[in-house]
Symmetry: C2
Subunit: 216 residues, 2 copies
C-alpha cells in the first residue's frame, strides 16, 4: 500500500469518528470524498481494496469502516514513541495534546543537555545516554528527531542502533532514504519521513510567486 | 512544475550552499543524487528543465546552479510570513531559527487571547482583530495556521479575506483543497499544505507494523 493510501486511511478514520460522535451510522463515498478533496471513485477504490463494500442506497456502515481501518493501521496495538531533542520543536510536540487523542503515547523525551533532564513533567526527559536502554526495554519502534542540524546524523545512528525503524525528522538535514523512503539494512527496513519546515514554506513561496505572475 | 520538483530544488539549493562553504566550485549529478536519495538521471532532468547544462568531465558550476534555482524559487524577493495561533506549536515556530537562515522572515504572530499579545519579543504577537490590516498593509501572502481544531476554518477564512494565498496548516483539520492542492476562487489560486502530525506518526506505525510482520 503506498504512502498516499495510508495517509488517506488515517484521514477517513479521523472523519468517521467525528461523524459517529454526531450520531451518524452510515456514510457515502461522496461525503468522504468532499471532506478530503478527492473523488468518490477514489474513496470507493480505497475501500474495495480493503474488501469493504457499501451499497448505492445505504452507503457504508461507519462502525464497519472504522474497525477495518483500525485493523490495517494497527490501532489496537500499543503505540509508544520517543522524541529526541527537547528544544523548541521537541518540547512543543511533547506538550501537544493532538497525539494523545489518537492513542499515540510519548514515552519519553531525550536531550544531550543535562539541565533539560527532568522527571517532573508528565513525560520524562532523559539524558541521551539512556536512549538505547530505554528504547530496547520498551521495544519502541518510532521516534521523532528534533535536534539541531549538527546532531541529526549522530542521533539518527544512535536511534537505529537502539531499534527505532520509523522516523519523523524535523531537523533540517535530509536523512538518507531510497526512492520510496524505505531502505534496507541488515534485514530491517527503515521509514524516514523528513519534514523540513523551511523547505515547506519555500515551496509555498514558489507557488504564490508564480500564481501572482499568472494573474497579473 | 509539480510539488516534488519544487521540493527537490529547495533541497539542491540547501546542499549546494553547504558544498560552496566547504570550498567546492563544481558538483556532479551523482553527488547531488546520492545526497538526496534520487537517481543522477533525475537530477540532470531537473536541471535541464531549468535550461542549465553541465558537462560530463567538469560537472555543474555551483554558483550558476544556485543563481538559477534562486531565480526560480523567488529567493531574491522579500519573504515575509505570519503565524496565526501562538500556542505550543506556533510559539516554537516563532522561536525556531531555521527559517531566518533561509531568508524567511516571520513578520508577526496572531492570537485570539489578549494575554498572548506582546510587543516585547523579537517578533510581535498581535490580536487576531489586527490580522486583516496587518497582512494587507504588508502585502503578506503566506501564513502558517497553528490554532486548535475548533478555530481552524474560521482563521482560514479570515486569512483568505486578508489576502493570504499560501497556507501551511498544522491544525488537525484537513483544510479543503482540490486534487493537486490548488483550488481556484475569484481568480486567486490557493495553495494549502496540511501537515497533520498525528497522521504522519500513524503512517509510520503502519509501515513499522507491516515491516515487522514481513520480517517475522
Amino acid at each position: 500500500m503506498n504512502r498516499e493510501v495510508v495517509l488517506r486511511l488515517s484521514k477517513y478514520r479521523r472523519l468517521l469518528q467525528k461523524l459517529k460522535v454526531l450520531g451518524l451510522e452510515r456514510v457515502f463515498s461522496n461525503n468522504l470524498g468532499d471532506a478530503l478533496g478527492v473523488t468518490p471513485a477514489l474513496v470507493r477504490k480505497d475501500f474495495s481494496n480493503l474488501k469493504i463494500t457499501g451499497n448505492k442506497r445505504g452507503g457504508y456502515i461507519i462502525d464497519e469502516l472504522i474497525a477495518s481501518i483500525d485493523l490495517i493501521l494497527g490501532k489496537n496495538q500499543p503505540r509508544e514513541i520517543v522524541i529526541v531533542g527537547c528544544g523548541k520543536i521537541g518540547t512543543a510536540l511533547m506538550q501537544y495534546r493532538g497525539l494523545e487523542k489518537d492513542g499515540i503515547n510519548i514515552a519519553a523525551g531525550f536531550d544531550i543537555k543535562p539541565e533539560k533532564v527532568s522527571y517532573k513533567g508528565e513525560i520524562p526527559v532523559l539524558g541521551i545516554e539512556e536512549l538505547e536502554n530505554f528504547i530496547k526495554s520498551r521495544q519502541i519502534k518510532i521516534g521523532v528527531i528534533s535536534v539541531p542540524e549538527s546532531a541529526a546524523t549522530d542521533v539518527f545512528e544512535k536511534m537505529i542502533n537502539a531499534g527505532i525503524i520509523g522516523f519523523l525528522n524535523f531537523s533540517p538535514v535530509e536523512l538518507k532514504y531510497s526512492k520510496d523512503s524505505i531502505h534496507f539494512d541488515n534485514n530491517n527496513s527503515y521509514v524516514i519521513n523528513n519534514i523540513n519546515l523551511a523547505v515547506e514554506i519555500e515551496n509555498l513561496f514558489f507557488y504564490v510567486n508564480n500564481s501572482q505572475a499568472e494573474n497579473s
